[in-house]
Symmetry: C2
Subunit: 151 residues, 2 copies
């Protein structure tokens, strides 16, 4: 999809970004969460150019985020795979960050709710191994255990 | 940064993506988490073209993710703002997804640890308002409360 592939980088984050680190790919997955399944549905909702949409649907299907379902006489439908569904933590983290730092004028327009009770879910939060809440400054990324000592 | 701005969309997710929904922007923020602060540092670590790096650093600074610090006789340094630090939940969600679904050949190469104990943190997980663990299929995104009834 992009000229510089990150697929071979030794980093799961870069490898994830190689699949969904693109605004249109993310918005397609977002709308798949909302229940959109067809080319024309994604096109109408996102106002995305057809060639870009074709390219991104192919990319997301090849990378196991969407499944393409074909039935005689029908247009194909695109549904999230289990791996696609598991991107929800990424989306919820992005949504919660946006609600806080770049809220739209009318306030947060999307809610994430428990499907059963329709009540809002908790904000995603960092926790230590034994369940203690951690602020962002209380965690660190480390490449290897040996890397801890260097900083 | 992109031709189609999502800034005016009435969705915090789209608004977040307008700021960091770009592979290079995300990788720059990732390396800022690791402690990189200089143009030449980002350039060497990411192998990114200088014009793209200049563009992305400007974009991230203008959008309040990085602060540009200048000191007489020194090259400028770029540091994460508090809002930039709070992107850590997004990164951790992407990293955990990648570790599970697209792990590098040698296994997960990055660890996220509690800065104090150096022990790995818990995986981010969805929880209901009263703390019950929820699977991805047990939550839903809803545009408005009225939207609940339609699906």
């Amino acid at each position: 999809m992009t000229r510089t592939s990150l697929k071979d980088w030794n980093c799961s984050l870069a490898r994830s970004l190689d699949i969904i680190g693109d605004k249109w790919a993310m918005l397609i997955v977002r709308n798949a969460f909302f229940g959109t399944t067809t080319f024309s549905g994604f096109q109408a909702e996102l106002g995305i150019a057809k060639n870009i949409l074709t390219n991104r649907l192919k990319h997301l299907t090849e990378n196991g985020i969407l499944r393409r379902l074909e039935k005689d006489g029908c247009y194909p439908r695109y549904k999230l795979t289990p791996a696609g569904w598991e991107l929800s933590t990424v989306f919820i983290a992005l949504l919660q960050w946006g609600d806080k730092h770049v809220p739209p004028p009318g306030g947060p327009p999307l809610q994430i709710v428990d499907r059963e009770t329709l009540q809002p879910i908790r904000a995603l939060a960092l926790q230590s191994g034994d369940g203690k809440p951690l602020s962002t400054k209380e965690v660190r990324f480390a490449k290897t255990p040996a890397d801890f000592e260097k900083r």
